[in-house]
Symmetry: C2
Subunit: 351 residues, 2 copies
Amino acid sequence: MASTTVTLRDVARHAGVHPATASRALNNATRSLVNEATAQRVLQVAEELGYRPNPIARGLKTNRSTTVGVLLPDLTNPLFPPIVRGIEDRLAEDGYTAVLANTDNDPTKERLHFEIMRSRQVEGFILATAERDDPLIDDLMSSDAPMVMVNRTVENERAHAVVADDRLGSRLAVDHLVALGHTQIAHIMGPERLSTARNRLEGFLAGMRQHVVDADDDLIEIAGAFTEVEGARAFRRLLDRKAKFTAVYAANDLLALGCFDIMEEKGIGCPDEVSVVGYNDIPFMDKLRPALTTIRVHQYEIGVHAANLLLARLENPHAPPQTLMLKPELIVRDSTAPATVPQPGSSPGTS
Amino acid sequence: MASTTVTLRDVARHAGVHPATASRALNNATRSLVNEATAQRVLQVAEELGYRPNPIARGLKTNRSTTVGVLLPDLTNPLFPPIVRGIEDRLAEDGYTAVLANTDNDPTKERLHFEIMRSRQVEGFILATAERDDPLIDDLMSSDAPMVMVNRTVENERAHAVVADDRLGSRLAVDHLVALGHTQIAHIMGPERLSTARNRLEGFLAGMRQHVVDADDDLIEIAGAFTEVEGARAFRRLLDRKAKFTAVYAANDLLALGCFDIMEEKGIGCPDEVSVVGYNDIPFMDKLRPALTTIRVHQYEIGVHAANLLLARLENPHAPPQTLMLKPELIVRDSTAPATVPQPGSSPGTS
C-alpha cells in the first residue's frame, strides 16, 4: 500500500479504535491521554501501513477554513506564548492553523476581533480572555459555537475549558509556607473578575483554614491587574496600614516581582525578613536574586489540551462539556525561608 | 456627513495626501514616520469629517482573505512576542489578521507551513525565519509574492525587510567596552547562516578596528544557536583554550545568560573580573544579578514597520524594495565595569 494513500481513518480502523483516539496516540504531546497498550497498537499499525500525516492534503480536500480563532489578552505577557505555542503545535498536527488577536482585556476589542474572525469563517474559538461574568462567552455558549476556554474560565457547568487547578496551586503555596513556620501570610489577589484570581484566593483561604491558621482579612490585598506595577502598589498598601506578616503569597509571578520592587526600595530582606511565593513560573524566574519560589503551571500542555478539546468538539459538536484541570507543582527556590520569630510590635518596613 | 460613510480615502483626499500617508498619520505607532505638519493636518481633517476606522466593514466588502501569514522560529523565544504584537496591532488597524506558525528553524517545517498558508489564500507573508541563503525566500522573491522579512534578512538588494541596525548595535557595545578600558574583548557570535549573527560580527570587527584595537581571532566563538545552552558551551570553549579577555560581547541576551552560567560555575565575577554585554534587551534582563548591560532593539516597532511595509506592498505590488533599519540603543546596567589591570599570565577561570 502506497504511504500517501493511508489515512488516519485507515490506521484507526486497522487498530480497532476511534479516529480521535488514533490521532491522540500518534501525537507525542497527547499520547499520555491514551491507554498505553492502545497507543502502542496504534503506533505499530501506523508503521506497518506506512501512515504519514499530511495536513496540507487534509486542508485541501475539504471546503472548510481549517483555521481556529485564538483570542488572548496580550501576547507580550510571558504567560501566553507557551500556551499559544501548545495550541498551534496541536492544531498543526490536524492541519489547522491559528489566527491570533490581542484584546488587552478590553471587551470592545474582544468583541470586534471575535466578529472579524467569525466573518473569516474560523471553525472554532479558543479564548484566553474569559472573565467570570462574560457576555461574549455567554453568547458563544448559548449559540453552541465550538469554543474552548484556556487558562481562565467562567462559572457555568456547560463550559469547555482547560485550566490549571488553581485551588490546588494555592494549597501547595500555603502548605510550603506553613511548613516553614509562617502563620502570618499575606495574599496579593488578582482582579476579582478573573477566575484565576478567585480560585487562587479560595485555595489560599482553604489552605489557611486547614492548618487552623486564621487568614486575617487584613492580610489580603486585591491588585488592579496581574502586573508588576499593581503588585508593587498592593504590597505598598499592606505596608502603609502596618499589616504584620512574615510571608506573601502573590497570585502570579508579576505581582511577586512588584513585591520585590518595594522590598528593595524599603530595604526589607527576602527571604530573611519576608518570604515570597509567586504563581505560574514564567521564564527567567529562576534567574532572579533571590530566585523566586513559585507554583509551576504547565502552560504548553494547557495549550495542547485546549486545542485537543476544540478539535474533539469540531469532530463531535455534541461532545459533553468538559473542564480539564491540570495539576500545578511547587518549585522551591530562594525566596522562601523559615519564619523568624517576630519581634513584638515590629512589622516589615516599619522596624 | 454621517461618520460611517467617511473612508480613509476621503480623509486623504481632503488632506491632500496619499491614503498610505493618511493611514500612517492616523496610527499612533507610525505617526512619527510622517512629517509633523502633515500628520496634524490629517488628524484635523479626520476629526472634522468624523472619520472612524472600521476594519470589519473593510474586511466584509471585499472578497479577499484579509489575512497575512507570519512565519517565525519559535514564539516562546522572548524576542518574538513583541514583534508579533506589533505586526498584529498594525494589521488590525487595516482590518487584517495574522495567521501564525512556528518553524523551529527547520526548512521542511517552514515550507510546509508556508504551503498551508498559501492554500488558505493569505494575501501576503511576513517571515522572521530568513537565513542568509534561503531557498524559500528566493522562490518568494522571484515570484514577486508580497513578502516582508522581519528581524533577519537575506543578502539581496531586492529584499523588503525591517531589521535592527545590527552593525550599529555592535558598535555601541564595543564603544562602551573600550570606553571602560577593555581591549581584550571576546565575541560570542550567533549561527553564521543568520544575517543577525553576521552583521553583529561585522559591526564588532569594525568597531575594534576603529579603536585601533586588534580583534583577536582567538577571541571569537561561534554558538550553534542563539540559546543559553549554546552560549554556555561557547563560553566554556573560550576558557578551555585559555583565551585572555576582560569582557565578552554576546550576540544576544540568551548567549549572555549562558556566559553567566559558566561564570557562576567557575567563580568568575561579573563585572569585576569579566564584563558582559548582551543584545536585544528581552524582558527581565534588568532583573538579573548583575542586571545585564545590553543593546535594546525596539522589537514592537520593528513589527509595526514590517506590517506597514507589507500593507504598502499589498496596496502597490510594484513598490520598490526597501530595507528599513531601526536604530538600537545601548542600555548600561551592572554587568559592565572598568577593566582591571590584567595580571601577567592569568586568564579568567584559570587564575
